[in-house]
Each structure stands twice: as structure tokens, then as C-alpha cells.
């Protein structure tokens, strides 16, 4: 079990990670999902033992490995964890084999055992024919594999990945995703995987923690986040396409939706309504519950059409069964269903 208890990290007065608590069972694939700068790397570096928490604890299998309250931690090398850096951090003066071998050598393994383990790991990642090359003689995707091989070779119980696929091109990224999941199953290690890409999170994770401004907004299974987003932030951050959020404010006796009077009954005077993309419609004429907007994007996805429209600061995306009759740049009317899929307070907390 991997457990975080009230984990907090501040750099000077600036908090980067605030009061994070969660736990996942052994062998889980935990994804930390959040926008850039939200504290994901900091969290991961605390797990690796490279940063000491300001407060709170980290427990691996019931053992405290970092304790911010007592300013104490287990040495990075003795936590039974391995980290794959975003930049790969391959040692440029060592061959591929050397990179994978050196940590084992430091760990004090016999030469024979090392050779066997290196061969095994290189084969597992299908890079055995690159063994004698230097890092600058192989491609980015291959470097990525070497970085992973180097990390899994000493068989850590916890594998940490910092945005490992962000430097790869789109096709390679999809391949590596599958590869990483296979590897995770093969090693059985607990994985903590940091990304800003919600598709990666949704496809790979057993558990997802959505991080925003250093806090966990929601923690759960991927499907949970889609079905029951706990906040407006989560609602707009996960899902393909993400959900639409429209402000609803009281105006006299009725309510205005994005500035237009509409027949709707929100639970509060001021709130945010969430509409799933496939509950919206696009029409050329005004309807009973529609917003006039400019059509800015139309694209086809898996036989369906995704249309995005813009008005003021509001951006709505609809998923339709067939392409709209309008063209990009035209004025269209986005039809809303009578009941939104969820309600949030103006601060983003879920109401219903």
C-alpha cells in the first residue's frame, strides 16, 4: 500500500503541494493528473525522496519513508522506489548497457547476476540490439525505453514516472502507453505516473488524482471522474471532449443562462451548470433554450462530429451524430437540454 497523509510542501512561503492525502493498494497504477505548475513534479520528487515534505507523511507498505513533521526521511536509494525523469537523465558518457548496469553495480550485485538482469530488461523493452550505443546515438523513443529499463532493473516496489511520454510524438506516445501498461503488469510494482494529458490518465490509471494548485480536487477511478466530477475543474479537465460549464445567475424573477433569460431551476441563485458534450445540439435557428454563438471548429471523431462554438468568453463543445449544416465562422444556436448534468457553486464545488 502506498499512502500519503496530509502531505504538504512549500518553497519558502509558496506552497506547491497542500495537504494531500490518499492511498492506493500494491500494484495500483496511480495517475496524478493536473495542469502545468500544479505541483505534480514536486509531489513525485517527495515520493522519490528527493524533496523533504514540509509537513505530512509518506508510507510505503505501512513504513513511513518521509515524515515532514519530524523533518526525517529515508534516503532516496533505500526506499525501494525508482524514478523515470521527464528529461530521461541518461548518463551521456555511458552506453545503453552501462546506463542500465551502473545502478545494479552500485547496489552491489555480482557481475553474472547483473549481466543477466540487464539482458533481461533490455529484452523486455526490446532495446537489446542498442546495448552498445551511446544515448546520443539513439532516438528519443529509444532513450525513453532506456530510461525505463534503467529504472526497473533494480526491481523497485514503487515506480515513479514524470510525464514520461510528453517528449514523444503522437504515434509513439500511443505505443509507449500500451508498453508501459504491459510493463506495469509484468513487474507488479505500484506505479505513480504524472501527466497533464487526461487521455493518458483515463486509459492507463487504476486510480486518478486530479491535482489543481497543489490540492487534490478528486481522487477515484477514471470512470468516477467522468461520471461524477467532484468539481467544475475536474468536469472541464477530464473527458473527450471535456464537459461544458455555463454560468447561471438570478435576474429578477427568473434566471439567465450565459446572459440569456432561460427557463431553468438551479439549486442556488448563482451557480454553474454542467452539460455533457453529447447533450448539446447545434441549430441554425433559435430554439427555446439556445445560445447564439460563432461556430469556430468542426472535426470528425470516430464517425461523430465535434463542433465548438464561441461567444464572449464562453466556449462550448458539442458532439453530434452528423455534421451541422453551418460552416465555420457562421452564427449558430447551441441548444441546451432542460436539465443540466450537474450543478456547481460559483467556486466550482459540486452541488448536485
Amino acid at each position: 500500500m502506498l499512502e500519503l497523509k496530509n502531505l504538504t510542501k512549500s518553497f519558502g512561503d509558496v506552497p506547491a503541494v497542500r495537504d494531500v492525502s490518499l492511498s492506493v493498494p500494491d500494484g495500483a497504477f496511480l495517475v496524478l493528473l493536473g495542469p502545468s505548475g500544479c505541483g505534480k513534479t514536486t509531489l513525485l520528487r517527495m515520493l522519490a525522496g528527493l524533496e523533504l515534505p514540509t509537513a505530512g507523511q509518506i508510507l510505503f507498505e505501512g513504513n513511513v519513508v518521509s515524515d515532514g513533521d519530524r523533518q526525517w526521511q529515508v534516503d532516496p536509494a533505500k526506499r525501494n522506489s525508482g524514478l523515470v525523469f521527464q528529461s530521461y537523465a541518461l548518463w551521456p558518457h555511458m552506453t545503453v548497457r552501462g546506463n542500465v548496469d551502473w545502478p545494479l553495480k552500485v547496489a552491489g550485485l555480482e557481475t553474472a547476476a547483473r549481466t543477466q538482469r540487464v539482458d533481461e530488461v533490455l529484452a523486455m523493452l526490446e532495446i537489446n540490439q542498442l546495448a552498445e550505443r551511446y544515448p546520443n546515438e539513439i532516438s528519443g523513443g529509444q532513450q525513453q525505453r532506456v530510461a525505463i529499463a534503467r529504472t526497473i532493473a533494480p526491481k523497485p516496489g514503487v515506480l515513479l514516472f514524470d510525464e514520461p511520454l510528453s517528449n514523444l510524438d503522437a504515434k509513439l506516445r500511443v505505443e509507449m502507453r500500451t508498453e508501459l501498461m504491459r510493463l506495469h503488469r509484468a513487474t507488479g510494482a505500484t506505479a505513480v505516473y504524472v501527466t497533464h494529458d487526461q487521455i493518458e490518465a483515463m486509459t492507463m490509471a487504476t486510480h486518478v488524482a486530479v491535482v489543481n494548485k497543489g490540492r487534490i480536487e478528486q481522487f477515484g477511478a477514471p470512470q468516477d471522474l467522468i461520471d461524477h466530477p467532484a468539481s467544475a475543474f475536474v468536469a472541464t479537465f477530464v473527458g473527450t471532449p471535456p464537459n461544458n460549464i455555463v454560468p447561471v445567475v438570478r435576474s429578477g424573477a427568473g434566471w439567465q443562462v450565459a446572459g440569456r433569460p432561460m427557463d431553468i431551476t438551479p439549486p442556488l441563485d448563482d451557480c454553474l451548470a454542467m452539460f455533457r458534450a453529447d447533450s448539446l445540439s447545434v441549430a441554425l435557428t433559435e430554439g427555446p433554450r439556445s445560445l447564439p454563438m460563432e461556430l469556430v471548429e468542426v472535426s470528425t471523431i470516430a464517425g461523430r462530429t465535434m463542433a465548438t462554438a464561441l461567444a464572449g468568453g464562453l466556449r462550448l463543445t458539442a458532439v453530434l451524430d452528423r455534421p451541422p449544416a453551418a460552416r465555420v465562422g457562421d452564427r449558430v444556436h447551441i441548444g441546451l437540454p432542460p436539465v443540466p448534468d450537474a450543478w456547481f457553486t460559483p467556486y466550482g464545488e459540486r452541488i448536485a
Partner: protein, 587 residues
């Protein structure tokens, strides 16, 4: 926890350790202690020494006493004249060459560009000695120079004093100005110039309206560095000015310490530091007050250069003449006069006596050639040892300081480490040497007095060249990014092992190049070591200086040539080392 079938036992969690201090505190304190010992303590020690009851009258003696004009004010005037003239002329000369090389179609641009960086590598005492070989007249007796020997009457003002000092210093420092200005000109995007041309501006307008404003910060920086270099220079005024009693602050400082008036010497040294630092600070302020334009535009290909037209060859002749005078001519004179029995007849009766001859009573009072001269051989050994030691300690401290500040960037400790390590840039070498005498000359606690030992030379050299070693160290550290080191840390390797297996192999090229740079700088330095010199611990440059002062010019010149040869070999070695193939750097 499930692991692969062939997995060894999962590693057990071992006892962690309490992080008592903020990380890096110990390291920072160690580095700071080293820097304090090398730089801060000698400087404050000097100031405090002049404030002791016995010494405090030195301040009034130097500043207002009856002797004050001779002790301080006239040397100050000379020093300022040297600094200002040298600063201005170097900027003009270096600027002209930089403009010609970077922006025009002058013939042999590349050759000129390379040649213009060389004079700074020739120590100023070499150029000053060469000047004597050429222009010395019979004013102070001894051998006359070649021109006088050819029957040309050399007037005193050309043989001694201010004019030759200025010429020698300018020939030395313009190369520094060239490097700075050329680098700045190279960033002037050719689009910038072409846009002005399209707008209808012609050569002069473009120069005054575009190029000059953009390069002003570089001009100011070059001027203030040349000024600071010239005011703190010791060799040129000592060799060319002292014989006719022209004093500058640095020769005064030297003279005071030589005759045992240490307190007065230290006061003059402190004033010299203040003057040099003031101008560097002013220059820095003038530069930082301006917006730096250079970085606004990317570097574009320079499609077109100014066409000099019929002026191409005349301008080339001017540039070539300046460069020959600053590089080839001094070297030829030094070599020739180390071979000629009389510098009046530089190119006749050449003999290798001064190099490999044994003692002969009728030549140079029986002084044997440098190969058979135990004093000179000992000085050579000491100098090489000093170069190696300082290169080693310098790179070690430089690396440690830059590693510490790179890894633990925040906090006032890191900031002070950075500030202190660049402090020696403001301190003239001779004042630095004086400070070391003040601080290490007497026993400190249980430690014996270090004056006259090899250790004091190494410590002084390390402290004096720290700005260079820290700069090199920083460049090296940047090659070894934090994550490369962290990923090694994650394996559990100890600090020493990480250094040995990861950091050092990655950094070795930069380290070696930096070390050689320091080696070359220290073996050809005169001003720092001239005060620390003792007959038991001689260094080559001071031995050459002494021989020259005593009229044994051939020996002085031979030793100087030897220093030049060692410098050149070391530099070539460093180049070779840099290009030596390292498989991971290919592609």
C-alpha cells in the same frame, strides 16, 4: 508485493536519516569558509592592520603628510593618466579592429580576428622587456637597445617613462577590448543594418545611428576593464617607468613593501583597490542602467558587409601593422635578444650561451645559461609546480563553489558565495599579494607564518584566479544537469562514487580546459607573485624581472621566451584535449 520471478529479495527499508539542517547547509558553510580564508580574511586583515595604533599614521602619511605628494598623489596622477589613456585608446583600437573584422570586407578577416586575440596571451612584462630591447637608450647605463645600436638616437621620452608604458599597455589590453566589442558586434543582426540601408541611411549614419548605440554597453565594459587592467598593471611601469623614477600606485606599493614600510604600502594598496573597483563599478552601472539591445534580435546570417572600396588595403595595412607590433615583433625581439650577446646588435653574433652555456667568467659575470643555472631551473620547477597546484586547487574550489550555488540556489549564503568569488576581479594582483603578506606573513594561531613557502603561492594563486575557476566550474556544472546527478543519487551511490562515475567523466573536458587556462594564467603572472617572491621560492616571471632590473637582459628574455613556450604548449594541449574524440560527444 509481486515482483518478477527472477527478482532478488526486495530490498528492505533501511534506517532513514533525520535531516537536521536545511539541505546543503554544511556544504555552503564549507565553501564559504574556504572563500573567507582565501579572499575576505586577507583583505580585511590588511585593512585592520593599517588601523592598528602602530600603523594608523600611515594613512595620514600617505594622504596628507609631507611625503604625501610623492607617496600617493603623483603616483595617483600617473596611474589615472595611464588608466584613462589606455582605456580610451584600447576601445578605439579594439573597436576599429572589431568593426573591420565583423562588419567589413577587409582582406584576411579571419586571420586578423585570430591575431587580435593573441596579444592578451603575451604577458605585459614580455612586451615591456621587448620594448627595452628595441628602444633602450644610454640614459641609465647598461646595454642599449637595437635602434640605438643602429645609430638612431632614441630620446628619453621614447625610451623610458609614460610613453613606452602607455604603448606597451595599449598593445596588451586592446586585445581584451577587441574580444568584448567583436562579440557584441556579432550580435548586431544584419537585418538591422539592412533595414537602415533600405531606409536610405548610408555608412556613417548606420554606424552612428544603429551600430554605436547597440554596442555602447560593450564599449563601456571594454573601456572600464582596460582601465582597471592598466591601473593595476605592475610590469610595464616597473620595467619602463621605475628606472626614471616614474611611479604609479602599483610600483609605489611594491617599493614600500620592498623597503619595509609595510603599513604605507598596505594603505596604498587599499587605495588602489578602491580606485580600480570604483571604475569597474561605474562601468558596470553604466551598462546595467541601459537596456541591452543585443539579445532582442536573433543572430542572422550576415549576407552583406560594408564594402571598404579603395580603403580595403590601406585599412588592412593599418590593422596588420598594429597586430604585428603587438604579437610578432615582441616575440622576435625577445628571441633574438636571448641569443645576441649585445642587444645593441640584436641580429649578430648569435650564441646559445644564455640558453645552454656553462659559466664563463667574461660573459654576464659568469652567470651560466639558463639550462645550467640552478636558480633558474629551480624557479622553473617551482613555477610549473605552482601552475599545476593552482590549476588543481583552483578547479577544485571553483567546482565546489559553483556546484554548491547551482544545487542550492536560494538563500543568502549562496548569494554571498557568488559575490565573494568574483571579488578578486576588483583587486589588482599586486594589492592581492600585499594582502597575503599581511595576513599569512605572521603566524595565525598554531599555524606557522607562510611567507616564503610554496603554500602561500598556491593559496594566493587559487584565491586570485577564483573568478576564472568559478566561471569555468559553472559552465562545467551546467553540462551536468541536476537530473543526471539526481538519477545517480537514486541508485544509492555515495557522493564520492557519483563524483567519480558520473560528474567527473562528464565534466572532465571542461575541467581540463579550465585547469590549463588557470595554469597558463598563473605561470605568466608577475604582479601577484612579485611581492610573495623569496629567493628560496622563486618563480620564473619574478626571476626574469630581477634579471632585467639588474641588466642581465639576455637571461630575462630567455626566461620570458621559456614562459611563452610553456604557455603555448599548454594551450595547444588544451585544444588537443578538447578535440580528442569522446564517443558520447559525437553526432
Amino acid at each position: 508485493m509481486a515482483t518478477l520471478a527472477s527478482a532478488p529479495e526486495p530490498r528492505t527499508l533501511q534506517q532513514g536519516r533525520r535531516v537536521l539542517f536545511q539541505p546543503g547547509l554544511v556544504l555552503k558553510l564549507v565553501v564559504l569558509a574556504i572563500l573567507v580564508l582565501l579572499i575576505v580574511a586577507p583583505m580585511t586583515g590588511t585593512v585592520l592592520f593599517t588601523l592598528t595604533p602602530d600603523a594608523i599614521t600611515a594613512w595620514s602619511d600617505v594622504l596628507v603628510g609631507r611625503l604625501a605628494p610623492n607617496l600617493f598623489w603623483w603616483p595617483l596622477v600617473n596611474t589615472m593618466v595611464i588608466g584613462v589613456v589606455c582605456g580610451v585608446v584600447c576601445v578605439l583600437l579594439g573597436g576599429f579592429l572589431a568593426w573591420a573584422v565583423v562588419m567589413t570586407n577587409i582582406p584576411f578577416r579571419r586571420t586578423i580576428g585570430v591575431m587580435a586575440t593573441l596579444p592578451f596571451m603575451i604577458p605585459s612584462f614580455a612586451t615591456a622587456l621587448a620594448w627595452g630591447g628595441l628602444f633602450k637608450n644610454d640614459r641609465i647605463g647598461g646595454d642599449v637597445g637595437w635602434l640605438q645600436g643602429m645609430g638612431i638616437d632614441i630620446p628619453d621620452w621614447l625610451a623610458w617613462g609614460m610613453v613606452p608604458t602607455l604603448v606597451v599597455l595599449i598593445l596588451h589590453y586592446f586585445s581584451l577590448a577587441f574580444t568584448i566589442i567583436a562579440a557584441s558586434l556579432a550580435t548586431v543582426n544584419s537585418d538591422l543594418v539592412e533595414a537602415a540601408q533600405i531606409a536610405g541611411a548610408k555608412g556613417r549614419k548606420i554606424l552612428m545611428g544603429i551600430i554605436l548605440p547597440v554596442t555602447t554597453p560593450a564599449l563601456i565594459a571594454a573601456g572600464s576593464l582596460c582601465f582597471a587592467g592598466a591601473v593595476s598593471n605592475f610590469a610595464a611601469p616597473a620595467l619602463l617607468g621605475l628606472p626614471v623614477r616614474m611611479q604609479t600606485l602599483s610600483t609605489r606599493l611594491f617599493g614600500m613593501i620592498e623597503v619595509g614600510q609595510t603599513a604605507r604600502g598596505f594603505v596604498i594598496g587599499i587605495l588602489l583597490v578602491l580606485i580600480s573597483a570604483l571604475f569597474l563599478w561605474l562601468g558596470n552601472r553604466a551598462v546595467s542602467g541601459r537596456r541591452s539591445y543585443a539579445t532582442i534580435t536573433g543572430k542572422g546570417g550576415r549576407a552583406k558587409r560594408f564594402d571598404l572600396g579603395p580603403m580595403r588595403w590601406p585599412l588592412f595595412a593599418v590593422a596588420a601593422l598594429i597586430l604585428l607590433c603587438a604579437t610578432v615583433v615582441p616575440v622576435i625581439i625577445l628571441i633574438a635578444s636571448s641569443l645576441a650577446p649585445s642587444s645593441a646588435f640584436l641580429f649578430s653574433n648569435w650564441t646559445l650561451h644564455y640558453w645552454i652555456g656553462t659559466s664563463t667568467a667574461n660573459i654576464a659575470q659568469g652567470t651560466p645559461g639558463i639550462w645550467h643555472n640552478p636558480d633558474i631551473m629551480w624557479a622553473t620547477t617551482v613555477t610549473l609546480g605552482l601552475g599545476l597546484c593552482v590549476a588543481f586547487t583552483g578547479m577544485f574550489v571553483g567546482l565546489l563553489a559553483s556546484y554548491t550555488t547551482a544545487r542550492y540556489r536560494s538563500g543568502w549564503l549562496s548569494a554571498s558565495i557568488m559575490q565573494i568569488s568574483f571579488l578578486p576581479l576588483l583587486i589588482p594582483g599586486i594589492a592581492f599579494g600585499a594582502a597575503y603578506i599581511a595576513f599569512f606573513g605572521a603566524p595565525i594561531g598554531p599555524l606557522p607564518a607562510l611567507y616564503g613557502t610554496f603554500a602561500i603561492l598556491v593559496i594566493a594563486g587559487t584565491g586570485y584566479l577564483l573568478p576564472f575557476s568559478v566561471q569555468t566550474g559553472r559552465a562545467v556544472i551546467q553540462q551536468v544537469s541536476g537530473e543526471l546527478e539526481e538519477s545517480a543519487r537514486l541508485t544509492g551511490a555515495s557522493f564520492a562514487r557519483r563524483m567519480w562515475a558520473i560528474t567527473v567523466p562528464l565534466a572532465i573536458r571542461g575541467l581540463a580546459a579550465g585547469g590549463i587556462l588557470i595554469f597558463v594564467k598563473i605561470i605568466r603572472d608577475l604582479s601577484l607573485v612579485v611581492l610573495l617572491f623569496t629567493p628560496t621560492m622563486p618563480v620564473m616571471s619574478v626571476v626574469a624581472f630581477r634579471y632585467a632590473s639588474e641588466g642581465f637582459t639576455q637571461f630575462a628574455h630567455a626566461i620570458t621566451v621559456l614562459i611563452l613556450i610553456i604557455s603555448i604548449i599548454a594551450t595547444l594541449l588544451s585544444n588537443r584535449l578538447q578535440t580528442k574524440s569522446q564517443p558520447w560527444l559525437k553526432a
